[in-house]
Amino acid sequence: MNISMNELKAALRRCFEASQYFVGNYEDAANMILWLEKHGLNGLGELQRGLPYIDEDREKALSSVIYEDSTSAIIDSHGRSALNCIAASVDLAHAKALENGIATVTVHNCHNRKFILKALTDRGRCGISVAAYWQNGSGPVTEHAAAIKAGERYPSYSEATTDLPASTDDKQALTIICSSRVDLAVSLQASKGNRNARHISAEQVEKNKQQSVESGIEIAPDLWDEINRIGAGVLVENSELSRQGAGGR
């Protein structure tokens, strides 16, 4: 079925609000998913994979900084979804880069890392360049890279399937490089063993957006129903008293 971007955003906000995301975080989460989908990068597919787990994060510890110096930091996200923690990590990289020219932040134990693209884009719009790299899965391992130049509105994104062996630790790691001095661009090397490589340029990302703006977004009815089912958790049961409270005659 076809829905508008605003409908998707509003439904996702309710969904994450009902899942106990904090004020600010539920807007971020909704915007991250919408951004990917709107720009042709399968945000709804990513969401569908993460949806069964979204209310587990409320039990997990908040992200913590386990190492920090002037140009780098390591953050442990304790198995959280990027939807509720990655923006703060990108912000920290941004702040350090502004102070020192370039900075690196590594995030451990973070799921759904593709959602970082919206956070990268926000930083690009604010005049800083950011790149991110992560690997995912175990059989096979895929690798992903995204980057945006300072002042740009759209990032590029690359992904490929590798023949790398699965790592036993840090499976959910992500590295963010941020610079106020250097425009960062990334593309995965055509190394031996990489296959199904796909590079989506910033120009293509922009074109994908134009299509979504023109026609809205296609979503599977089951997924749409599920988002709304979870989001109904923020709605208050109707009563005659509340009907009157809204201003009835």
């Binding site: 076809n2 913590s64 703060a88 502004l98 809205g216 923020v234 208050v236 009907r243």
Partner: protein, 573 residues
């Protein structure tokens, strides 16, 4: 023609114009005292239509003798062709309900890009009358519905069928034939997103321009339909309505709580609207030449506003008292300026010392009316990019200082006082209608919307002070990693501090909060008149009263329908 840069220079820095301070302007009671002005969206839409001479023609007019059927107008504007599609259906009196929760209406309408072909019309017919229960696609960008003001409609039809004109005294009481009960845009129900309207449909690329246009078309149709039914009822005796009486008919509107969360959830946009209105006033204060023409015009507008206020009918005691106070203010203003006045700064200062808030804001609207050359060009600057961006590098001491200066109003509120957090705003499962409740209702409290900006700021300040004591050298980014729950409010504080006016200064959680102020503020930006509160939570009002008719497009246009007055009926002097 001004530019964004010139506007910025007028608002900040050495060459800034004398703007009223945020503490004065963003006070909720003052925002709720605002009136329509020449920057209101209905006025700016009409100016555009008249100046660009939009061609608006019915290409399908299939109504039966009782006025039921389908009508399509094609709208040729400079940047595109649009269709206004309307379905008129029978509605029994017991089904007629103005609330959002209604499921059937007299009229349902859609504004659509391009020409509507037969198969697409059928698709619209299957969905538009259902409103929230239907789905449309991204060709549609406004959807609305309206109910008859049954007594007025039947009376007008009867009069016209008998060859008589409606009695003006009666129209003064209810100045419309239909009330619109919801106007949807911005992607609701599958419609085009605002991003598409803003970038593709340039004729409607100002906030709420499409929504206002649909209300204007509804007003036009309501008159046409009344004449159509009267003509069929009595072809021999029927007389069309006189144009000056037609112009005095607006369109009714019922507005409830739904608008209140909008104001809180779109702070950058609301700030932009306020900035333009205040910049217009500051321009007049500094540059508005006062001569005999201006003095005469002021006097005449004061009298017009007084008469308009006298003609405003409401059963609400609070509004009646407000209107009485405005009349006293206008009389005092007329007397004060009878011997002339020198400059606007002094006159506005006098009003602040001697008039009610509603009276003061009436003078602001009058001042704007007199200087189109200083005001009208600002109509092109009412949009805003609505990104609440975090400034990660901001030192925490600076963040603290911003809260202490820009949100002093929030820090002054004692949220532990009885009743200070008693109100909660929530969404009902019934069409997600926003409602107001008490924290005594556990479910409403738990599921309340985050509209208590002042309270959130005060909590943030508390946490920030504690954090700074431990980490005085940290940046906002580091604070955000440690206190992620504060992310939303910190981003808002930083973003709004970059604006001239910032957030609305009120505790929306207070037991005594008056949502009416929020509704009225937004409605004043829209340009409605004749406020008639029906309770603490919803208000009836009139849109487009006095506006030109579609038949007036292409004829000389004076843009003078501010605070419209009733026309003189034949035989009156």
């Amino acid at each position: 023609m001004t530019t964004t840069t010139a506007i910025q220079a007028s608002m900040r820095g050495e060459h800034a114009l004398p703007l009223r301070p945020p503490s004065q302007v963003m006070d909720l009671e003052r925002l709720g005292a605002m009136h329509q002005s020449r920057l209101s969206f209905m006025r700016t839409l009409i100016r555009r239509i008249m100046r660009e001479r939009w061609a608006i023609e019915p290409i399908k007019f299939e109504l039966d003798a009782d006025g039921y059927g389908t009508v399509i107008y094609e709208v040729q504007a400079p940047n595109g062709l649009y269709s206004f599609v309307l379905f008129s259906d029978y509605l029994s009196p017991e089904e007629r309900n103005d609330r959002v929760i209604a499921t059937k209406w007299d009229l349902t309408m859609a504004l659509v890009e391009g020409r509507v072909e037969a198969d697409y019309l059928e698709q619209l017919r299957q969905n538009v009358p259902k409103q929230e229960a239907g789905r449309v696609d991204a060709r549609v960008f406004v959807l609305s519905r309206a109910n008859r003001s049954a007594r007025n409609f039947d009376y007008v039809v009867e009069q016209l069928a008998n060859g008589q004109q409606p009695d003006i005294e009666r129209i003064k009481n209810v100045g419309y034939l239909y009330r619109t009960t919801a106007v949807y845009g911005s992607g609701k129900l599958g419609m085009a997103d605002w991003e598409k309207v803003r970038t593709k449909h340039l004729d409607f690329a100002r906030p709420f321009a499409g929504e206002m246009f649909v209300c204007l078309m509804l007003r036009n149709f309501s008159l046409l339909q009344a004449e159509h039914i009267a003509r069929h009822r009595s072809p021999q005796r029927f007389q069309p309505m006189q144009d000056e009486i037609k112009r005095y008919f607006g369109i009714g509107n019922s507005t409830g709580l739904g608008m209140a969360p909008y104001l809180v959830n779109h702070p950058l946009l609301i700030n932009q609207w306020v900035e333009m209105r205040e910049l217009a006033l500051a321009r007049i204060r500094a540059l508005g030449c006062v001569n005999s023409r201006v003095q005469q015009e002021l006097s005449s507008l004061i009298e017009r506003c007084a008469q308009h206020t006298r003609d405003t009918v409401t059963e609400d005691d609070w509004q009646t008292d407000n209107n009485r106070q405005v009349l006293e203010d206008l009389a005092a203003l007329q007397q004060h300026t009878a011997a002339g006045f020198d400059n606007w700064d002094a006159l506005l200062g006098w009003s602040e010392a001697n008039c009610s808030l509603q009276g003061q804001e009436m003078l602001v609207s009058i001042a704007l009316e007199i200087y189109p050359e200083l005001v009208d060009e600002l109509e092109d600057f009412h949009s805003a990019e609505e990104n609440l961006d975090l400034d990660p590098l901001m030192p925490l001491q600076e963040l603290k200082q911003i809260i202490e200066t820009r949100y002093a109003w929030a820090l002054e509120i004692d949220f532990t006082a009885e009743g200070a957090r008693e109100t909660c705003w929530y969404r009902s499962e019934e069409k997600m209608e926003p409602r107001l409740g008490s924290v005594a209702d556990a479910e409403a409290k738990q599921k309340q919307m985050a509209l208590g900006v002042g309270y959130a700021v005060s909590k943030c300040y508390e946490q920030l002070c504690g954090y700074i004591a431990e980490h005085p050298e940290h940046t906002t980014a580091r604070f955000m990693v440690a206190r992620p729950k504060m992310r939303g409010i910190v981003r808002r504080i930083q973003s709004m501090s970059r604006c001239v006016y910032g957030d609305i200064q009120a505790n929306l959680l207070d037991r005594n909060i008056l949502p009416m102020h929020l509704l009225r503020c937004k409605l004043a930006f829209f340009g409605v008149g004749k406020f008639d509160p029906r309770s603490r939570l919803w208000v009836r009002n009139t849109m487009f009263q006095g506006a030109p008719l579609l038949e007036d497009i292409g004829k000389p246009f004076s843009d003078d329908w501010f605070m419209p007055l009733a026309p003189l009926q034949s035989g009156q002097h």
